[in-house]
């Protein structure tokens, strides 16, 4: 649990200008599922799960995900973007308890 909010981003090791780059990203998060009591009733509480993921590159949003509790624990997402200039790819995760975590990856051309 201590690792909650650790963000990992994987980009290809070599990128050429103009490439469409496939990115994988992962965050350590419990994504709490709905719990039920002995009678099978749903426990009413504020479940903690990630409900929004936003990826930006050079200040522009390139992909966003709205998610529900049907997404797996330690959710992993993949998306693509067109690498035009060197810059920073940033992915921000928001959860229902108001926490946000972000990870960045440098996009450099080799």
């Amino acid at each position: 649990m201590a690792d909650i909010g650790k963000v990992r981003i994987r980009v290809p090791s070599t990128i050429k200008p103009g490439d469409v780059v496939r990115v994988r990203t992962l965050v350590i998060h419990p994504m709490e599922r709905i719990e039920r009591d002995a009678q099978g009733k749903i426990v009413q509480k504020k479940y903690r799960y990630i409900d929004r993921v936003v990826a930006t590159y050079l200040g522009k949003t390139v992909a966003a995900f709205d998610t529900t509790q049907s997404v797996a624990e330690n959710p992993s997402f993949a998306f693509t973007f067109r690498a035009t200039d060197p810059g920073v790819l940033k992915v921000v995760f928001h959860d229902t308890h108001g926490s946000t975590w972000e990870g960045t990856a440098d996009i450099r051309f080799s």
Binding site: V20, V21, R22, R33, I34, E35, R36, D37, A38, Q39, G40, K41, I42, K46, Y47, D51, Y57, K60, T61, V62, A63, A64, F65, D66, T67, T68, Q69, S70, V71, A72, E73, N74, P75, S76, F77, A78, F79, T80, F81, R82, T96
Partner: protein, 169 residues
């Protein structure tokens, strides 16, 4: 199947840990009940509802075309562990400002919360590809619904067999 199911329940219980035995068993025997007690906080995107209700809520009565020609849904045939199932969706689209894929919805028919995620894409995305790790409660269809920038909806679906359900209570 019965045999396999009882094993899967046991493994599910062992794996979950957090749920009391009684609670989990109660939840399982109830099947998929109680839209009445639906979670309000999940708000716009996800709710405990049937997949028909979910699709009606999201898309109303808009026509949905078969996307078999242009949409590729990448799911395993058999998911041994429903708690983590990789689902990928790729759409053949030029991704220009005039013609691109705006949203990709991933929906699992048999989940208590059928709408899993809505991905929003932009022309800057370059290619219409998304993937996510999802939970599947039980064997059933997984759909990808693609909304293009002109508002057309395309749908593809495939059945995924789930050995051990991953949605728990």
């Amino acid at each position: 199947m019965n045999h396999g199911r009882s094993i899967s329940r046991r493994r599910l219980l062992g794996g979950l840990g957090v749920l009391g035995v009684a609670g989990a068993a109660g939840g399982l025997t109830l099947g998929r009940p109680a839209r009445a007690g639906a979670q309000q906080q999940a708000a716009a995107l996800g709710a405990q509802e049937s997949v028909q209700d979910a699709l009606r809520r999201l898309f109303g009565s808009r026509p949905m075309k078969d996307g078999a020609g242009s949409v590729t849904l990448d799911v395993p045939l058999i998911a041994e562990n429903g708690a983590v199932v990789p689902v990928g969706v790729e759409v053949a689209s030029p991704m220009t400002a005039a013609n691109h894929v705006r949203h990709v919805y991933i929906v699992a028919d048999k989940n208590r919360i059928p709408v899993i995620t809505r991905a929003t894409l932009f022309p800057e995305s370059g290619r219409a590809f998304v993937s996510a790790n999802v939970r599947l409660g039980e064997t059933g269809d997984v759909r990808a619904i693609v909304e293009q920038s002109d508002g057309t909806l395309l749908q593809v679906k495939r059945e995924v067999k789930v050995t051990v359900g991953g949605c728990g209570g």
